[in-house]
């Protein structure tokens, strides 16, 4: 352990006015790792980040930075850089002065300062703007200055709080790639807060999904998407959302609204499902929609809505009893009110326990 782990949360609890915002959170972040904290607004992800930065004190538990209790060390020793959502640039200083200020205060040699900053200005494509004030920069440029200011510190841990949310959509992808490139180049430990799942998927080595002050799942983007630990994760990640159907499993038979669903019994047996009600989760892209029924167990459905996104079409299908599911297709052959048949790709179906809402397979 020790040097392996850059940052560790040990049973960290944060209370605001008596209510737990964060409850007994445990988290280990490895050196050089890019960890994304993802969750809906108000889930506690920003509070977690602010505690890591030392801006908030945990009500209970410990935050260890490189093996030392963060409460007991100074901000210099903590050696953390943070980029804020609104960039927090010093409005009275030029780009160069913004980058230089903290270094100057901490008495980094002038030559060294210059060498470091020139390199950063060049990497971030800011050399031409060095003498501009923050007020004269665009959102994307400000964001790069904020990044640069964090880099200039050469801190071991870099915290980013929704750094891309104030940038135009067109520039966001570019900025995202920049952050990724910087991480690849510098191998800094990064903790990145966002509510945007695409950003999280694109950037994170691991993603921690947080809801109601608890980590719901922490894993690689691939596992989060394909093997969600519980219903919340399953529904939170992926657009359109994963379809969740309440099904019943009895005598090796899976039924939806008392109608048997087509499923390979062999496959079901391997899942070792317990009998009773269950939630079945299936992603829209794993639903096959057909005109003609080929197997009698395919679900009949009516097309309620077709949204054409160009690259793909999103169908809302009514499967009776006011239940709808969403499917994604690419051949654009259906219209509203078409009668179709739906086949769920059985190998992609996930099952969640009815009571605990946990993935049965996990």
């Amino acid at each position: 352990m020790g040097s392996e782990i850059a940052l560790e949360l040990k049973k960290v609890t944060k209370k605001f006015k008596g209510t737990n915002v964060i409850s007994e959170m445990d988290l280990k972040i490895k050196n050089g790792e890019f960890l994304v904290l993802l969750g809906p607004s108000g889930c506690g992800k920003s509070t977690t980040l602010r505690m890591m930065a030392g801006l908030e004190k945990p009500s209970d538990g410990q935050i260890m930075i490189a093996g030392k209790d963060s409460q007991k060390i100074s901000s210099v020793e903590r050696n953390i850089a943070m980029v804020f959502q609104d960039y927090a640039l010093y409005p009275n200083m030029t780009v160069y002065q913004n980058l230089e200020y903290a270094l100057k205060i901490h008495k980094v040699e002038k030559e060294e300062r210059k060498r470091r900053l020139e390199k950063i200005l060049e990497t971030l494509n800011l050399a031409a703007y060095r003498d501009r004030l923050p007020g004269q920069l665009s959102g994307g440029q400000k964001q790069r200055v904020a990044l640069g200011r964090g880099m200039a510190k050469k801190s071991s841990i870099f915290l980013l709080d929704e750094p891309l949310s104030n940038i135009d959509v067109q520039l966001r992808e570019k900025a995202r790639d920049e952050i990724q490139n910087l991480h690849e180049k510098n191998q800094q430990t990064i903790v990145y807060v966002t509510h945007d799942q695409l950003e999280a998927m694109a950037l994170g080595d691991r993603i921690a999904i947080i809801n109601e002050g608890k980590i719901q799942m922490i894993d690689t983007p691939d596992n989060i998407y394909n093997h969600p630990a519980n219903l919340f994760v399953a529904q939170f990640v992926g657009t359109p959302q994963m379809n969740i159907l309440e099904v019943n499993y009895q005598k090796e038979m899976l039924t939806l609204n008392e109608r048997p669903l087509f499923f390979n019994t062999e496959h079901l047996k391997n899942m070792e499902l317990s009998e009773g009600n269950l939630y079945l989760g299936i992603r829209p892209e794993h639903i096959i929609v057909k005109r003609k029924q080929e197997i009698s167990l395919e679900l009949p459905a009516r097309v309620d809505q077709v949204i054409d996104y160009g690259r793909y079409q999103q169908l809302t299908l009514n499967i009776g009893k006011r239940q709808t599911i969403k499917a994604i297709i690419t051949n654009n052959e259906f219209k509203n009110d078409d009668l179709v048949y739906v086949l769920l790709s059985e190998k992609r179906a996930l099952f969640f326990d009815h009571a605990s809402k946990k993935n049965v397979d996990a």
């Binding site: 901000s75 210099v76 953390i80 943070m82």
Partner: protein
């Protein structure tokens, strides 16, 4: 209809301007009249026999430069004192958490509602006990702190994003460096405008300095003016008007130089 209403407002505002400006115009015009003219045609705006004699008489009777310097010096000390204490106090109230902060702030702000006449005598007694009667520090000392200033600075600091200060703290910048390098430069326009208002107020101050200052050599302009309109100084109005005209020159310049900041901060602070 809308145009009509707008026109109505314009006329009203013009009338108000006129009401405010007329006394100033009379002051200036009377300062260029002879004593006789000022009695016979007080309301005549253009003097019948314009004369500069009132100013030269003043120059002979009193040490004008000394008076201006005394007033300027006093106003400058008071302004500086109010700015420094106001900034520090607002900074502490805004960015530090300490026990009883809310109450202390409430007590500070409530002093705004205490009329000067109520604390005049206690203040006088204190100043006399510490032997500062008849001195400039005696006048300045009780005015070095002003809750209005604290309130205005707090308002101005509200506009500085919280993340800015947090970012500085994460970078290990000390509180006094944050104040010196970030807060004060950002607040510069507010500081200038609040300072200008403090300066003009203190330049015009009359009651408190009369209590403390007895020696004519330490008089400020408002005190000297009193000599020309009280019974003991006779009733030479043109002379008094000339001195008044001299008195408004410095505040007028200060206002003209800083008017951009002053108007901005008044319209931003919700004080209008």
């Amino acid at each position: 209809m809308n145009k009509f209403r707008e026109g109505g407002w314009h006329i009203l505002l013009l009338l108000i301007c006129l009401v405010l400006l007329l006394p100033v115009v009379f002051m200036i015009s009377n300062s260029f009249k002879t004593l006789q003219d000022s009695y016979h045609s007080m309301l005549q705006i253009i003097p019948l026999h314009p004369t500069f004699s009132n100013y030269t008489t003043l120059g002979r009777q009193i040490d004008l430069l000394r008076l201006i310097w005394n007033t300027f010096f006093m106003a400058a000390i008071v302004t500086l004192g109010k700015l420094i204490t106001g900034l520090f106090a607002a900074y502490a109230f805004k960015y530090f958490s300490f026990k009883g902060k809310k109450w202390i702030y409430l007590i500070f702000v409530s002093t705004i509602f205490v009329p000067f006449t109520v604390i005049m005598i206690p203040n006088y007694l204190v100043i006399s006990k510490i032997n500062l009667l008849n001195t400039a520090p005696g006048v300045a000392l009780p005015q070095m702190c002003d809750a209005t200033g604290i309130m205005l600075f707090l308002k101005a600091m509200d506009k500085i994003p919280k993340s800015l200060i947090e970012s500085l703290k994460i970078d290990g910048i000390s509180s006094h460096m944050i104040l010196k390098d970030i807060i004060i430069p950002i607040l510069r326009p507010s500081i200038i405008s609040i300072g200008a208002i403090f300066f003009i107020n203190s330049w015009n101050e009359y009651v408190w300095p009369t209590l403390i200052l007895k020696d004519k050599s330490s008089f400020t302009l408002p005190l000297a003016l009193q000599n020309y309109i009280s019974s003991e100084g006779g009733t030479n109005f043109p002379l008094a008007m000339a001195l008044s005209t001299i008195m408004i020159i410095v505040p007028l310049f200060i206002y003209l130089i800083f008017q951009r900041y002053i108007l901005n901060s008044i319209s931003n602070s919700g004080l209008k």
